[in-house]
Every structure is written in C-alpha cells, then in structure tokens.
C-alpha cells in the first residue's frame, strides 16, 4: 500500500513542477520574441483603451456637430469627423471597446462550449465519441461567416448576439484540439494512477487531464480572438453586427467606404485600427504558440 501511494504521488508532483517550469519557460521564450512582445504590448494598450474609453475619448461618441461634417483631420479633430459630424477619434476609442469585448467575450463562449464537448468526446470514447465527432464534423462543414450571418439574422443585431453567434460557430476547432489532447493524455500512467486512487470522472478530467491539455487550448484562444474581432468587423461592415449609434470599427469602415474617393479618412483610420489589432494578436498568438508548444508549430 505504501509503495503504491509513493508511486502515485511522484508523477503528480512532477506534473506540478513541469507545469510551472513550462509556463515560466514559455514566458521567457515569449519575452525574447520581439515581434510577439510588440504584439503583446499593443494588445495590452488596446485593452486599456477599451477599459478607459470614457476617460480617453475627447467627446461622447454620440455627440454630433452638424456644422462640421466629414472634416479631414485637424487639430480640433485629430482624425477628422464622420458623416454626422462626430469625432472620429472618440468613435474609434469606443470602437476598441466593442472589438475587445467581442474578441474576449466570444472566446469565453467558445471555450465554454468547445472544451467540455471535446473533453467528453475524447474521454468517454465509444459511441458518444462517434456521435460528438460527427456532430463536430457537421458543424465544421458550415461556411463560418454564412452561418454567423444566419444566426445573426435569426437573433437580430446586437453585442450579446454577436457573442452567441461567434461562440456557436467558433467552438469546433477548440473541441477538436481538446479531444485530441484528452485522447492522448488519458492513456498516460498518472491518469491511471489518479483513477486507482479513486478520483472520479469529474475530478480526473478537471484536475488531471485538462490542465495538461491546456497549452493547445490557450494557443487556439489566442488565435480565436482576432478571428472573432474580424468576424464582428465583417458583420458590422455588412450591417448585421452592432446597431448604431454604438460605434464599431467594421461598421465605420462599412459606412465610410462609399465615401472613400471623397472623404478618405472615414474608412482609412478604422481600417488601420482593425489591421493593427489583427496583426498584434496574430504576432502575439504566434509567440504564445512558439513559447508554449514548439511542437505545435
């Protein structure tokens, strides 16, 4: 009995040591990657802008000035005004809030749906696995954007509904990743050990398997965020995303693009914002992937 207890305790300890050093290693590698670091800094800045939009924006995003429509950038309006005479800079600052909310909010839903389904499928195996994998395959086969538009037209426009629409369609990738990881990890000896010690189904999954499957999930989430931001931008661009007057970058590009030959600033600045955000997240995501799981490359 005593021998068995020791034999089990060791791998658990080892896991903790390996994990903490894995994260520390990861952080070190991430910091050394300059592109990823730059991306990370921009991401943090964007988050701060989104959180403190109320203090940063020079004007409320609804404040229109009908005497100053479509003005090019000036000292008073650093990025110019839009077709309602609203300050473009203020609207872009508030737009960051929508983008960040969508990016993070949608990923929460994605993780909440994708991880349990993937984990169950991988862990239970058998018929349940076949059923869930086929379901995942079916969901995967839908063209993503079309499906999102479909969900949006059923639910109506709005921030919450964008979370739901992206969440409902975005979870399949993560579910697959999780399933693959769980399949591999559940065969490991420490899992047997934990089971032998009497750990139940829930505890096994939550405390032993999932923590070890976390790396690819984290990477998937980091890449999922810009994808969600871009989906929101695309939706708002075609007019099924965020309802005015709430500003969103995609919507601003959509409304501004018809004036591009006359008032270039209306769509150029929000486009730049979207591009920078996408790039930063992608660089950061690349860095995270390289740092945490070089094998994933």
């Amino acid at each position: 009995m005593g021998r068995a207890a020791v034999a089990v305790a060791v791998p658990v300890d080892e896991t903790r040591i390996r994990m903490s050093s894995l994260w520390r290693d990861g952080a070190r590698r991430l910091l050394r990657n300059r592109l990823a670091l730059a991306g990370g800094i921009v991401v943090v800045l964007l988050c701060l802008v989104a959180i403190f939009a109320d203090f940063l924006a020079p004007l409320p995003y609804t404040k229109s000035n009908f005497g100053r429509l479509n003005e090019a950038p000036s000292r008073e309006y650093p990025l110019g005004t839009d077709q309602l005479g609203r300050d473009l800079l203020s609207r872009m600052i508030y737009g960051a809030r929508v983008s960040m909310l969508v990016g993070l909010g949608a990923q929460v839903i994605v993780v909440l749906i994708g991880v349990p389904i993937g984990a169950l499928s991988g862990y239970l195996g058998g018929r349940m696995d076949i059923f869930l994998t086929r379901f995942i395959d079916v969901m995967y086969a839908f063209p993503r954007l079309l499906f999102v538009i479909l969900v949006m037209s059923a639910l109506g426009a709005g921030l919450m509904n964008i979370f739901i629409a992206i969440g409902l369609t975005g979870w399949v990738g993560i579910a697959r990743q999780t399933r693959a990881q769980v399949l591999a990890i559940k065969e490991k000896e420490f899992v047997d050990g934990a089971r032998a010690l009497g750990a139940g189904f829930g505890r096994l999954l939550a405390c032993h398997i999932l923590p070890n499957a976390l790396t690819p999930i984290v990477v998937a989430v980091t890449f999922g965020i810009p994808e969600a931001i871009f989906t929101e931008a695309a939706l708002s661009f075609i007019g099924v995303g965020i309802n005015p007057p709430t500003p969103s970058w995609g919507q601003m590009v959509g409304e501004g693009q018809q004036y591009i030959r006359s008032y270039w600033h209306l769509c150029v600045f929000p486009s730049i914002a979207i591009a920078i955000t996408m790039l930063s997240f992608t660089f950061f995501g690349d860095g995270v992937r390289d740092a945490l799981g070089p094998k994933l490359k």
Binding site: T62, F66, L84, S262
Partner: protein, 578 residues
Amino acid sequence: MKILPIADAQVDLLAERLRAVGVGRREFLKLAAGLAAMGPAGFNAQPVAAAPKLAPGEKLAKDQTFRYGGGGWWQDDPTSHDFNKDLYCNGAPALFAGLMKFNADHQSVLYVASKVSSSPDGSQWIFTIRKDSKWSDGSPCTARDFEWSWKRQLDPASAAPYAAFLYDIKNAQAFNKKEITDPSQVGVRAKDDWTLEVMLEGPRGYFPVLAAFLAALPAHRASVEKHADKWTEAANIVCNGPFVLETWQHGKVMVLRKNKHFFGAKDVTLDTVTIPIIPVASGALPYENNEIDLTSLQTGDLKRLQSSPKTVEEVFRYPFPGTWYLIPQVTKPPFDNVKVRRAVAHAIDRANIVKVAQGFAIPAHAMIPPGFPGALDDPKVKAIQHFDPKLAMAQLRGTPFEGGKNWPKITLTMRDEALGSKPLAEAVQSVLLEHLNMRTDLEVLEPRVFRERLWKQDLQFVWIRWFMDYPDPHNEYFDTFYGKKTTGRRQAWVNDAFDKELEAGRDTSNTRKRMAHYAKAEEIMQTDVGYIPVAWMVRYAAAKPNVRGIEKNRQGEFVVEANVYVDMLPHLYMIEKA
C-alpha cells in the same frame, strides 16, 4: 419655393387653350373638373419630342448612341419588361407607350390617346386612340389591346402583384378577388378599335393620372400568349414605345434601338440606347471613365465632381418625388402616448438632419414635395410639428418620461438600402438623443423581412420613405395611410376623420375642393402624429457635354428619368464632341 399644383393661372390658361381649339366653357368645366394634374399641353396633339435645337457651331452627332445607368439606375437586372403585370419589374419604360404620359412637370398629358373626356362627375372616361398607334411588328395597337391588357392585370390568374392600382375601375376589385368571374363585367371596354371606355367605381378625378402610370402600360397579346413569362426577352418582345429591345444580356447590359413603327418615330433622334447594369457601389467611376454619358450621383461622389473644374459643369440637380418620414407605432409604448409622439415630432431638427445628406435632401413639413400636386406651403401646416426642443421637452410633462427619463428600449428600424438612408436615420437618432435624451438603437433589416414586419405593424419606430408613384395626393395619402387598407398598411395609426377626408378627396372632382380635403387630412395626421415628415429627396445627376435635350420643368430644373417621369429618352440627342 411656393409652387402649388393647379394654380388659378393654370386653370385659366387651360381654359384659354381650350377656347382656342373650340371647346366651350361648359365642356371645359367637365374636363377640368377631373384633370387634377393635367396641364395645357394635354389638349393639343403634341409632337413626342421637340426638334433638336443646335447652337451655332454645333452639329448633330453621326452616331446617335446614348449610354446611361449607374448610381441606382438599373443596379439589378430587370425581372422583366412586363409593366402590365408588375409595375415594379424595373424594366425599360421607353419600350412602351401608355394612353397618357407624364411630362417634365409631372402632368398627365396625351400620348397614345389623342383625346380624353369624362362624364360630368368624372366616373366615366373615354380615351380616343391615335390611328397611327402601332406595335413594333407593324400591327395596330388599338383600344382592344388596352382593354385586354388591363383585364390581364386584373385577372387573378395573372397574379399581378400590384393589380390594386386599377381598382378604381368598376368591378375590378371584385374580379381580381374572384368575387365575379366574368371579365366582361369589368368596367373597361373597347367600343371600337379606337375608343376605350372606362367605367369607374365612382367619381375619380385623377383617373387620367393613373392612366399615365407604368401600371397602365399595355402588353402585346399575341406575344404573351405565345411566350408566357418569357415574352419580354429580347428575342420575343413586341412593344409599342419609342424604342425596341435589341439585346438583353441578363445582369450585364440592355440595348434599345429606335422603334421605326412608333407613331412619333420622326421626333425621336437617338438610334441606340445602351443601359449597362451596374451596382450602385461603383459610384461615378463608370461615368468618370467615360463608359456612360449620363449617371445618377450618390452622396460620396457629388462633392468631388462638383469641386473638380472638369466636371462641375456636368453636374445638375433633379427633382425626385420621395419623402423620408418616421412612423411612431401607436400600439407600442412609449409611442402609444400622443404626448410622446408630439415630443418626438418637435424634437426633429430637420434643418440639421438634412445636412447629413449633403444636398440630397431638404427639410420636409408634409408628405408631398414642392412642385407636385397637393404640395402644401401653408404656415399653419408647417407649425404643427415645427422644431422646438423646449416645446418638445415640455410635451413630456406629466408623462412617465418627464425630463427625458425612464425611456424604455426603443428600436428604430429601417430597410437595408442605399440612397443615403442610413446617415439620415443616424442623424434622427442623434437629435432625439440630444433633445429628448431618448436613446434609440438603429436596426437595419433585409428588405423582405422589413416589409413583412412593417405590414404586420410589428415595428416600434420606423424610418421609411415613400416614393411617389403618380403625381396625385391620392397616391401620397390614400395609397400610403388609408386606415381601411387591408394589405400593405405601414402603420397601426388609424383615424376616422382622416379616412373620411381621403374618401372625400377621392370622390370629389373639383380640384380645389379635393386639395382642401387632402390638406385637412395632412393636418389631422400631423396633429395626431400618425407620422412625422422629416425630409424630401433631391437627386443629382451628371451628363457629358455632348448630351442634349434633357427636359426642364416649369421651375427651370432639369428632369431626368425618375419614379414618375420616364419620358426622357425620346427627347435626347447627341451632338458632335467639341
């Protein structure tokens, strides 16, 4: 901008003209009583178009080819050119000629008909048809063709979606709704080849106006019977207008050629008209690349073309009878409270809102835009919903929303379309937030979904437009707001006094009295805030310097093809480029 439709001076002029051609005072009264929008031009046989007027040094171009489109003109492939079945088929109207047509002043004037007269009360009309009226295959286009075409539209088997436009004809509605099955009971009859008799459900002063509308264009019986729905394909179509359809590459381009059998062919100068089908998003690019000679402009391009010395001379404004307005749904809170509706009406800062449209809209204080029959320039009407933020806030006193507080969630809904609709709606949101602290969400719905929910009166607050179909207040009030309408009613608001005025307007033949009924209706609707007029549309177009013959209206504005006037092409001609 004081332009009233049937000014006394016009009526007098009309009388004078009639005297000149030997029509007595009594007959004149009979006729004039009904002809709401009919001007002097209608009573003389008119050439289809005036002869080209060349300035010294100008020469008619050898190649009379004219290309136009873009900016919303034919952005989608027409579903057909069968106006007789579907007046919104988006086809080329120049392929057909109706009994009457609208001239540049949007008056109904004679076209295929050479004479029109009515019974004293205006419940019976007789159209005499030109003897040289022909189809493009050379066969005569007679009164029987019109009788057959109108009955085809009303026949339930045709399933024509807008058959209701002919419901003024006796038994038309009953026939269309299958209550009677015998088409001979429908009140339209060819007495002989050249005389069309129309019996109406009652006095309808505006009937010649309806007869000028796209819905009243004829269809060629033999072609319809042979080719069914495919009869307006280029290979099959037989038409009676100034042009024939030479080719129609679906979704790409239509080419029209002058119809040599058209009765006015000698007055038509253009040989070929090319109409490419271009999405509205391409803006003025095709025009600037010299791929088209005339285009309608969108907000994005106007300022640029106007500020370039090369194109500034080519840009001009044209009237486009359309009205933007708000429907506060009286069945949905908070708009079930008339005080709230009044507050909203007074908070609409029209002068500022239209600035967003950058010249494409002017402030509206009523339904009918200036220059059209029934337009109201009355200070009393203007005052009903005038902009006054203090008064707006004051309306809320005693309501749960006093001081602009406690607003429920309010969604402003509009249809997905270009036309600068969205910036205007956002400007409406902006002024409501500013003056009433009323925050609204703007919801843009796909057109079909929008229409379905609109007709269920399921929308809380609607941003919408009405394009005038034919220039008579009956269209702007009855077809839009009549409370007893069973289909296509946009608003839940109903008001008996208002409906009575519309019915009286419909059944009166004295023009001045009719207009008084409609003015009263407008006053009732605005006072009860059944709707809130916001802006009238204005459009801009650009034409290459070698395009000539674009007609001007009485106000001296150029008039191009829009939703009432469709008679542009026969008047155009090209000159040699300088």
